[in-house]
């Protein structure tokens, strides 16, 4: 199989990952390691778990997630992330757009654009 351009794939991955993080927080707050570990479980989604921490930091600065520290049952306190209303709106908008984008790309790849 011909390898895919690393740059193209990493840009696509980077763009989608922040919404995957928001998606993980849709129902409940999670702490950073939990988020990173959960995303790492999905095949092909994350190449280096460590690169997700700067992304989490940026999402916090952008105001799409909020954080709070909570004691952990064992070990140091944990930083918990939750969606803000702005983050929830961004996630909902992306979910709709992503479905359209994915369906269109699938259609073109499957049929070669011949309907």
């Amino acid at each position: 199989m011909e390898p895919i351009s690393g740059t193209a794939l990493s840009q696509l991955r980077r763009g989608a990952l922040e919404f995957c993080i928001l998606g993980l927080l849709r129902e409940a707050e999670r702490y950073s390691y939990e988020i990173v570990h959960a995303l790492g479980e999905f095949d092909g989604l994350v190449t280096s778990e460590g690169t997700l921490y700067p992304l989490l930091s940026r999402l916090r600065k952008d105001g799409v997630v909020a954080t709070r520290w909570r004691e952990s049952p064992a070990g140091p306190p944990r930083r918990y992330y939750r969606l803000t209303s702005s983050g929830r709106a961004r996630l909902e908008a992306f979910t709709v757009e992503w479905a359209r984008f994915r369906d269109s790309v699938d259609a073109v790849l499957r049929t070669g654009g011949l309907g």
Binding site: Y33, E49, T51, L55, G75, R78
Partner: protein, 193 residues
């Protein structure tokens, strides 16, 4: 949290991260190190087999790779020169000499900057408002402590003037007027690194 509670391979990884992350702004560097250290604490144990820890480190990624991701999302672009911030510092120190307007402009630049934290901004504002403008004021105060009046006999009678107590007070005030703005400006400048 202590590195001594980590597996030696995890500790070595953290040390490499510490070296690689020097290019990040201080706050982001500290946050990244804390997160990675917490990750390693949760994902490994001090006595875990090497092969298990290596697997964790492999999934975590090389420190350079993690730092590169940090630079991509950093609030400070690589090589940022902070022109606005340096102008703010200069105006906070010397701007008051321009009828006070310059200091106010410096204040506006200070508070509109996204680089400094609110605590730094308060420090820049409250640590001797007016910057070095207080220096000539203190010097003027020193020369005006001596007052002379004409006597009826045609001579001059002076009161106040130089005394050891006054001199010490003036020197102390002068030092404060010079050192406090300098310390404040140095703190703001260090935050730009």
């Amino acid at each position: 949290m202590s590195e001594s509670n980590l597996h030696p391979l995890a500790t070595a990884h953290l040390q490499r991260l510490r070296r690689a992350s020097r290019t990040l702004p201080r706050r982001e560097r500290r946050e990244l190190r804390t997160e990675i250290e917490a990750h390693l604490t949760q994902a490994t144990t001090p006595d875990a087999p090497d092969v298990e820890v290596l697997g964790v480190l492999d999934r975590l990624g090389e420190p350079k790779e993690i730092v590169a991701a940090g630079l991509l999302t950093s609030s400070r672009p690589v090589g940022a020169r902070h022109i606005q911030e340096w102008f703010a510092i200069i105006l906070l120190l010397f701007g008051a000499f321009a009828f006070g307007i310059g200091w106010l402009v410096g204040l506006a630049l200070l508070w509109s900057s996204s680089v400094w934290r609110t605590r730094d901004k308060w420090l820049g504002t409250l640590m001797l408002p007016g910057g070095f403008a207080l220096v000539p004021f203190v010097l003027g105060l020193g020369s005006s402590t001596q007052s002379c009046v004409s006597s009826s006999a045609g001579g001059m009678r002076c009161t106040g003037g130089s005394s050891t107590g006054n001199d010490i007070l003036m020197i102390a005030l002068l030092l404060i007027a010079v050192i406090v703005p300098l310390v404040s400006a140095t703190h703001l400048a260090r935050r730009l690194r």
